[in-house]
Subunit: 484 residues, 2 copies
């Protein structure tokens, strides 16, 4: 047999059981707020766990436990889709999102840590359902970590084998037992930082409920909020700075955070992507402060905070909002649209193209000008002092090209449905990049409720494609993949 379907379904079964258990985690919230949703949560959870258990049980015995590369693409894609399908249950059964399309959009937006929402009145939602919504992002974030550390390098996607090559216990050849250790360690960091943020947000004056929810969605660079106004609701500068710091951490290569905890600060600073990430944010925020707010002396802190918050929020693909940046100036709209194509670090929970790919793109552009004069010389691209193999270099460029092709095609398709110009390109950029809010009618002051039905499915597809680094999903559409 070409694919090891038994093992594939076995893993999907396990994921479903996990999904159900997380749903049951929302029960205490329902109990505390008496929001009358415990039946819908228990039934959602049971359906997930039961379906998962049956699938797992029926497939537990297979001749070979071995998984090949070809199986990997299928597991990852189906994994995210299955989670998103069953993740709709709490919304549907509770009736808080009655339409399946909307529920699926909201769930896949959660699991892909995008943060695009179709909800018009977030505060009217039952607290336990909002908690489930935040949880989907947090679970998605955990998935992304395994994906980045273990699965993508194994599948050889988009140069990922290179960017996280310094991860402890890393080997690009096969899934080693030590990879498990790495994933566990990075998960511990993820859980730890989430907990720390929740404590700090509570200290900053948030309610326990808000602190928990925002803690879950910050580290995942997800951006779902419990408030219609998003972070603009919390005017305290302390809270906003805390969130800035944790969005920044969420967009940092987790291996570097691990190094930081070990005190290896030099390894962090030697990392070119990290340096670009840090300086890029500082410089861009200062430019926004000066150009948009005129850098006026009096409320410099406030305008800098607004600028920094939005720059960090968009570049880390979190998507929290403290102010409607599309109303600031034409400059801000164009800039933030462009920033949606950046994404933060590889090996973080952020989506998009990622800074390291842009770095390599930029270096290639300069080198190509040099190559023009010396066509015979071989001039490799270097990252962190090491030459990048030509095939990986090429793969990275191909990645960005495919990304832009999907963006352009997607924008045309959205516009074909009658969606306005800015909204069409903003919606595609924001979902493909897993940012959340876009520009135009899906801008920071609005949401995706009014997107046409087919449009929502298309955008859901883009969230998935963007989240899984394009190749994982797209390869399933090539006839070559299915051939013997």
């Amino acid at each position: 047999m070409r694919f090891n379907f038994k093992v594939i379904f076995n893993i999907l079964g396990l994921l479903l059981m996990l999904n159900g258990l997380f749903m049951l985690l929302c029960l205490p919230v329902s109990y505390y707020f008496i929001d009358h949703n415990w039946t819908s949560l228990i039934s959602s959870g049971s359906i997930s766990i039961l379906t998962g258990f049956i699938t797992w049980y029926l497939t537990r015995k297979s001749e070979s436990k071995e998984l090949r590369k070809r199986d990997g693409y299928l597991i990852v894609t189906l994994g995210w889709i299955t989670m998103s399908l069953f993740g709709t249950l709490p919304y549907l059964i509770s009736g808080s999102i009655p339409l399946f399309t909307d529920a699926f959009f909201e769930t896949i937006s959660g699991f892909t840590t995008t943060g695009a929402t179709i909800l018009n009145e977030i505060e009217q939602m039952p607290p336990s359902i909002l908690f489930w919504r935040s949880l989907t992002q947090w679970i998605g974030g955990m998935g992304i970590i395994v994906l980045a550390v273990a699965i993508l390098p194994f599948l050889g996607i988009g140069g990922m084998q290179l960017f996280v090559a310094e991860a402890p216990g890393f080997s690009p050849d096969k899934l080693q037992p030590r990879i498990r250790e790495t994933a566990k360690r990075l998960w511990l960091i993820y859980v730890g930082l989430t907990a720390l943020e929740i404590v700090l947000l509570k200290l900053g004056g948030m309610s326990y409920f808000d602190a928990f929810n925002h803690g879950l969605t910050t580290m995942a660079t997800g951006g779902f909020s419990t408030k219609q106004e998003s972070i603009a609701y919390f005017s305290s500068p302390f809270i906003q700075y805390i969130i800035i710091v944790f969005m920044f951490l969420g967009g940092t290569n987790f291996t570097l955070i691990y190094f930081g905890l070990k005190g290896r600060f030099l390894s962090i600073w030697r990392n070119e992507e990290y340096r670009t990430y840090t300086w890029g944010i500082i410089i861009t925020s200062l430019i926004v402060t000066v150009v948009v707010f005129g850098g006026s002396g009096e409320d410099f802190e406030e305008s800098f905070r607004y600028s920094l918050f939005q720059v960090v929020s968009i570049i880390t693909t979190t998507g929290y909002v403290t102010a409607d940046y599309t109303s600031w100036a034409p400059f801000a709209t164009v800039l933030f649209l462009v920033l949606m194509f950046f994404g933060a670090s590889a090996g973080s929970t952020s989506g998009g193209v990622k800074i390291v790919r842009h770095l390599i793109l930029l270096k290639n552009s300069f080198l190509e000008l040099k190559r023009q004069l010396h066509p015979s010389g071989i001039i490799p691209v270097r990252l962190n002092g090491k030459a990048i193999p030509p095939d990986i270099n090429f793969n990275i460029l191909a990645f960005i090209m495919i990304y832009i092709t999907i963006f352009a095609t997607g924008s045309i398709l959205m516009a074909m449905m009658g969606v306005e110009f800015e909204t069409a390109i903003g919606a595609v950029a924001a979902t493909l990049g897993n940012v959340g809010p876009g520009i135009g009618d899906v801008g920071p002051a609005s949401n995706y409720a009014d997107i046409p039905l087919i449009g929502k499915w298309l955008l859901a597809f883009f969230m998935l494609v963007g989240r899984l680094e394009l190749f994982t999903v797209l390869i399933l559409f090539t006839p070559h993949y299915w051939q013997k």
Copy 2:
């Protein structure tokens, strides 16, 4: 000495003399219409010819006539800039465009065959000045042919050595005498087709003046018109179809037209770029007809003609307008913006990225998915049945990347000057792609008059960079180029 400045200036001197002679060509028009501009034309022409002659005379004796690659970039870039600087004289001296920035914008828009205009009342302009305006595009077109056939392959830019490799007498290694023959032959085609179009437009009911002007600007895929309304002024379907055909020819690889005249139709049809170009136009026009106009049976011809005209006009980067497509539907705006990034065939007078590069990009994307599964196999990209060498393949991808980087950076800079979102990205896309009209406030129903001063200079720079296939200009900005 590093550069052969003597020969460089000698050539620039020759170009200036030529420029002056062309200005004097407008005298009969001034005489016929009695528009009182013969003094300004004679003085403009004399200044150009005299400056050119002195430069040529002072540099006529040089130790070595040899030109190296490094000199080539400088000649081409300086050539276009010098022509554009002196080309402002008729506008400035006649007072028809009093501001230097505007005059320079209009002139470089001419010589780069872009067609972006700052003129608000075209019909109020003196006929002889309008004729000069059309001539700049026609001269630009001639320049582009030499560039494509002889210079770019010699400089090894953007895979150009490959696309026109089938041109008769072609050799990628050095400028051969036979290249001169090729250039002459293609010029003859250019001149012949221009003459043919002028005759046909006259037969279609245009005045001699309009026929001449539009003939000059169609084959150059320039798009300057003598009417404020552009081609919409000429409602005759015959005229519109004629212009469609000649825009199509202007966007066709001139070597293929040469083959056509020789009766080698199979060579034409075997050319992948040509096939994509033809089918792409037909299919896109049909989609626009159906989506925008509903493909209604009654006036199907008319809606198809409008669609076809705009698709051909934008994809060939001509920029003529028969209807304001940005008012059709959001779909049309997004589609035409994307089309601005296409450009027509390599070896034609059209600007932009060119279809062949998109073809190679697309093929690479599919192959990269295949390479994912077989990382060890070497899978080359093929064009017209031949494998493309890896370095050229890479150069093409780098070209597109740099193109998009300039587009994104340019849009941010334009927006920084307070230009609205659509206008900012539309203006950059339309000038970098040498299209002319963009979207938003620089859309087909409007012009570039209200762009801020610095913005006009920036856009002028983009026209130049786009026209000279990026590398020719950008390489001058690398320190490496100037080093010993």
